[in-house]
Point group: C2
Chain length 390, copies 2
């Protein structure tokens, strides 16, 4: 049995010299219009938001983290509940990462061998072992609509040898992931597969080395996946390096399949990388920064803790139509933040998600109208207007 996953490019930017494109992803749980931003729901919840608010903000897909859900409440429990969608009460598309980045960045004492990764849980210190095959099984139990292959992540900067080794191991692991998925599709055996229509994306690695990225693209595409991600970026490299790698990699990936830039980025990154041909994004910035009081607006970022907002009756962003901006002032949000009220984090999160998702809507609209290049220039000018808050 194959996947009902389909990606269709509907339109492409007609102005400027850019690779922006409009598409539609069909998944077992519905359609995603691309370019799309996926709010991060690490533990089955977009932090400080209810599903209703995530939908109101315009999200068509959220991301879940395999590493976290495997540790707690456990993929077997989730499979017994009917899969992640039913367990968390979210009936739209979900993408799960493979845990590769988390065992590298969050777990302690992670040891990589050709077989896989041994690591200690950041929750209770228990030892666990992820192989490529196991992360496929875990994600099959979770039943996400898009599963990611298990890859080896490295720190930036990395030597060329380290980047090459990790990239080639990631390719070998990707092949094992694909083989395991085919096995599960034909005969799941004892694995409770929650979503038989799950798609699987490969991940391009290779650090900041253009030729290694090219090699990774060729080898990963040769294995064959429903879509491709660009991994190992937004980890501290200079922004121009990131944009160059994204542009080069995206242009070499199959034109008729979706391209997903993992873990990026700022609102500016979204626009720059859509221009380079990226279709899908995820990032913790809008939600994490919201809880820390940093708000994204059409004029730039503001830090709600700043004393200058103590008596500011304006909404966060006068141009925004989110619940927070329609009902509350900067002065009130500052008070909630300083008073430690949960509503502060929740209202900030609603706003930041709305800003990110509205930016994606505006991007899609601009591509449709053939005005993406104009939009891009105006957007980048606009979001740098506010003075940077101390």
């Amino acid at each position: 049995m194959g996947s009902p996953f389909r990606f269709t490019v509907r339109d492409a930017a007609r102005d400027g010299n850019c690779a922006a494109r409009l598409g539609v992803c069909e998944t077992p749980h519905g359609v995603i219009q691309t370019p799309a931003f996926m709010p991060v729901g690490t533990q089955g919840s977009v932090k400080a938001a209810l599903h209703r608010d995530v939908i109101d903000a315009g999200a068509e897909i959220i991301l879940g983290n395999t590493y976290h859900l495997f540790l707690r409440p456990g993929d077997e429990l989730i499979a017994r509940r009917g899969g992640l969608h039913r367990f968390i009460g979210w009936d739209r598309p979900i993408l799960t990462d493979s845990g590769g980045f988390q065992v590298f960045s969050l777990a302690s004492r992670c040891v990589i061998t050709e077989d896989g990764a041994e690591f200690q849980s950041h929750i209770d210190g228990a030892r666990h072992h992820f192989t490529p095959e196991r992360t496929v099984d875990v994600q099959a139990r979770l039943g996400s609509d898009i599963a990611m292959v298990f890859d080896q992540c490295i720190a930036f900067p990395a030597s060329r040898d380290d980047a090459a080794d990790a990239m080639r191991r990631s390719v070998r692991w990707a092949a094992r992931c694909r083989t395991r998925l085919h096995e599960l599709r034909s005969n799941p055996g004892p694995v409770l597969v929650s979503n038989p229509g799950q798609a699987q994306f490969g991940i391009v690695q290779g650090g900041a080395f253009a030729d290694l990225r090219d090699e990774s693209v060729d080898a990963t595409v040769a294995i064959g996946f429903e879509g491709y991600a660009i991994g190992g970026l937004s980890v501290g490299e200079p922004i121009d390096v990131m944009y160059d790698i994204v542009g080069r990699t995206a242009s070499r990936l199959p034109a008729n399949q979706p391209r997903y830039l993992m873990g990026a980025g700022t609102p500016e990154d979204l626009v720059h990388c859509v221009a380079r041909g990226v279709d899908l994004f995820d990032c913790v910035l809008p939600t994490r920064n919201a809880r820390n009081g940093q708000l994204f607006t059409s004029q730039g970022r503001l830090n709600i803790k700043n004393a200058k907002y103590a008596e500011d009756d304006q909404p966060v962003d006068p141009a925004c139509r989110c619940y927070t901006c329609r009902h509350h002032s900067r002065a009130y949000l500052r008070h909630l933040h300083l008073a430690g009220e949960m509503a502060g984090g929740a209202l900030n999160t609603l706003h930041n998600l709305a800003f990110y998702l509205d930016t994606m809507r505006r991007i899609r609209e601009a591509i449709t109208f053939g005005t993406f290049d104009t939009f891009r220039q105006e957007f980048l000018r606009s979001v740098s207007r506010l003075p940077v808050d101390s």
Copy 2:
């Protein structure tokens, strides 16, 4: 200028031998149907809930805490923002307490004299001084629809002498509060009065001593307020003592004015005290317990942390129509709680508020239909069905 505050008794329980009654409070920010429960919005936010959710749950009025708002962000700042309603973006009725209970229970080194109370802020240790007149001014700046007089609270158990002294001082303070309010109504001077139509309630004290309570009722009613509260209960006294004091006190208060039982209570308390003639309630139980994982249901209370809910696909309360019960399972709520996700506290809060406010709606309906006594018996039987969670 007087207050546009009006209270009208619309109906009374016709079955059983009880004092339950149905009423309507008209305030400058709209109508409250009584008996009513007021969610507690200490710092201008009902903890873990957005205003929208508080309204969806059925709240017609919320409570704000004078002590907290005076300390942060400050009553002067709130007055400059146009008052508490505009500052927090809540356009329905608000009641503010006077801070009497908080300087006694929350502040440190509280020293009571005939003039008032000196205390240290629980936030930064700064020394402050509340007089009866000052708490009236602070509440005038906040602009709540119902302000409370400043009273002296005592611990339970208290000696008869201590209870008598505190009660008589509270009566003298109540008279000073009323005088100050009349001054502000005729000539606010430099005080920014945010809500000229604000009503003021007196508070009956006297501990567990029936004759002191009687004396307090007589003296407080003699001063004359728009409504009367029963204070100093739900502080550790046996439940029968509380019900007896409430019944005796309520029956002696003016029949044509609202009666407010401060700080109570459990769902059972609400029903028992409505039966004794109480019109208004406030309590932190539904919101605080929600954040700790205790959920109120039609069958009793459950603790969502309990292992037995790990794979329980039922909603918290199959009889409940709140957002939480319509969308999420006990298993998911348990996961969110254990994972420390803010959405857990938020979803639990939505449910508990809905349960409390729905209980009030059912009480009002039963009085209307002449079936309050039947409802009371059935309700009290029903909420004791669940085994007590460990």
